[in-house]
């Protein structure tokens, strides 16, 4: 039988573990992991984790922890390739990946107000984003990534609040097949049907959606 004391002690231990994980996550983010090669996230992704648009380094702050953790594991295994991230992810421990994913997910990011389904598009890129191009079996971006591309669940990351450079680079990687770590080829299949102009147009569209200021 479990005594009250034992329950309380267990709870306290969980809290301590939780805060230990939070500390570890913050450390990985700002100072890097314990092993050599595990560089700090903020070196490239910015002190606020919002990315470096000019270099095409993505925002990590506010992304779902499950998505971040999967990407780090995929970099490690080679399912997603990027020279810098692959060696970095290999130098992170399981615990560090779990911790830093939680930390990043909890960091503030610009809030893009979710648009309504009934909004009508005013240009071809917005039409693709809101309605798709079904004659080519392309669903609307928002039907998986959510209204205004704010992201849905752990599998469909936000598009708004990312730079056009990063979004276009990823769409092109899906198109060429160099990125292929999506569930059931859902993204690769769509990206391969897009033209150069459409890739650029969609990237610009989601990058330009107005985000409200980050509240720390």
């Amino acid at each position: 039988m479990m005594s009250v004391e034992r329950v309380l002690m267990g709870g306290a231990l969980l809290l301590m573990l939780g805060s230990a994980q939070a500390l570890e996550g913050k450390k990985v983010f700002s100072e890097g992991g314990a092993q050599p090669g595990a560089a700090a996230c903020m070196a490239c992704h910015g002190a606020d984790g919002l990315g470096l648009a000019a270099a095409g380094f993505p925002r990590l702050a506010g992304l779902p922890a499950g998505y971040l953790s999967k990407q780090l594991h995929d970099f490690r295994s080679g399912a997603r390739s990027n020279p810098v991230m692959t060696s970095l992810a290999k130098a992170l421990t399981e615990e560090e990946i779990a911790a830093v994913s939680q930390t990043l997910a909890a960091m503030p990011a610009p809030v893009v107000p979710a648009g309504h389904r009934s909004a009508t598009p005013t240009n071809p890129a917005e039409k693709l984003a809101l309605q798709g191009a079904w004659e080519r079996q392309i669903p609307a971006c928002v039907s998986c990534h959510g209204p205004s591309g704010v992201g849905v669940g752990e599998a469909f990351p936000p598009l708004s609040g990312q730079s056009a450079a990063y979004l276009a680079a990823q769409l092109n990687a899906w198109r060429s097949g160099t990125r292929h770590n999506d569930p059931n080829d859902l993204m690769g299949h769509v990206a391969k049907s897009l033209t150069d102009d459409e890739v650029q147009g969609i990237a610009n569209y989601f990058a330009s959606l107005p985000g409200q200021e980050v509240k720390p």
């Binding site: 309504h116 009508t120 079904w134 209204p147 849905v152 569930p183 059931n184 769509v190």
Partner: protein
């Protein structure tokens, strides 16, 4: 003695439909659904840019808004979490996804469902009552029905009247020779559907609104909706799911996963007879395609409804 000897026969009769005894398939009307067509070669509805800037054009766009944003714009008539465009893809424009341009020119039509000739307005009311689990539907002359009818008319405005256009409805996918298998359906669901619709069919939301629709449970279509038929769901799934990858599942997979989805509880059939699932099965479900309403699966009666 006599009673005992009948018992096994009775059991066999009851359990047969789960593996598809020859039950006549019923479409939503007396009409046949033509074969599937590639979307690109199907009837092309007009573009929004062709809409006139007048009262008619405005009403078409109000109908469009209701069609894609039904839950938010007509909450008093939507008792679940769905929008029309969840089952009629591409805003009701897509061939093999029950496009509005395929439906509008076929009404008025006799429907076995209520055993009378239905106008298009009555057909829309049926959608609200069953697919949207909406209780009392909007009146035939309400703003909602008028706007949605106008949107459908516009999409069909260059289509021939009374002609079954290719790509109308959900073109039938014949039941596989071996019938369907719920365990295999569960596997298909887990591998192909759960990433969007959730492990428990619960859908996924952003804020209060569903992005991916729930497939069963209180926020999904009720037991009176056409989609509760395994044959109808199999046809929808085969042609349209996973989203953007229509046609990628085999007929067997489509039937298996359709049966798996439609073995789960959902809101009660609003036509419930005397509070009895069995009476409702006999009156409305026994001859309505392939469905599990009122049958027992793994010792549990299906069709008890959920609130």
């Amino acid at each position: 003695m006599k009673k005992l000897s009948f018992a096994p026969v009775f059991v066999a009769l009851i359990s047969a439909p789960a593996w598809a005894a020859p039950i006549a398939m019923e479409d939503q009307s007396q009409l046949k659904v033509p074969a599937a067509v590639p979307a690109a070669t199907a009837f092309q509805p007009p573009q929004e840019s062709e809409l006139p800037d007048n009262a008619y054009g405005k009403l078409v766009m109000q109908g469009y808004a209701l069609f894609v944003d039904t839950k938010r714009l007509a909450p008093q008539f939507v008792g679940n979490g769905l929008n029309c465009s969840n089952c009629h893809l591409d805003q009701g424009r897509l061939a093999n996804s029950a496009p509005l341009w395929g439906a509008y020119p076929m009404y008025p039509a006799y429907r076995k469902k209520n055993d009378k000739v239905n106008t298009f307005a009555e057909r829309l009311q049926g959608c609200f009552q069953f697919s949207m689990n909406g209780g009392k539907p909007p009146a035939a002359d309400s703003h909602e029905i008028t706007a949605l009818s106008t949107y459908a008319y516009w999409l069909a405005s260059k289509a021939p009247l009374g002609v079954e256009l290719p790509g109308r409805g959900y073109p039938e996918v014949p039941q596989p020779a071996k019938g369907y298998n719920l365990a295999q359906g569960a596997e298909v669901y887990k591998a192909q559907c759960a990433v969007c619709h959730g492990a428990e069919g619960q859908g996924q939301k952003v804020g209060d609104n569903y992005v991916m629709p729930p497939l069963w449970g209180k926020d999904s279509y009720n037991w009176g909706a056409g989609m509760h038929r395994i044959n109808t769901a199999a046809s929808f799934i085969k042609h349209n799911m996973p989203l953007g990858k229509g046609g990628s599942l085999t007929d067997q997979q489509a039937w298996d996963v359709a049966a798996y989805v439609n073995r789960h509880e959902r809101p009660q059939d609003p036509r419930l007879v005397d509070g009895s699932v069995e009476k409702t099965r006999v009156k409305f479900h026994a001859n309505d395609g392939v469905n599990l309403y009122g049958q027992t699966v793994d010792g549990v009666l299906i069709g008890q409804g959920i609130r």
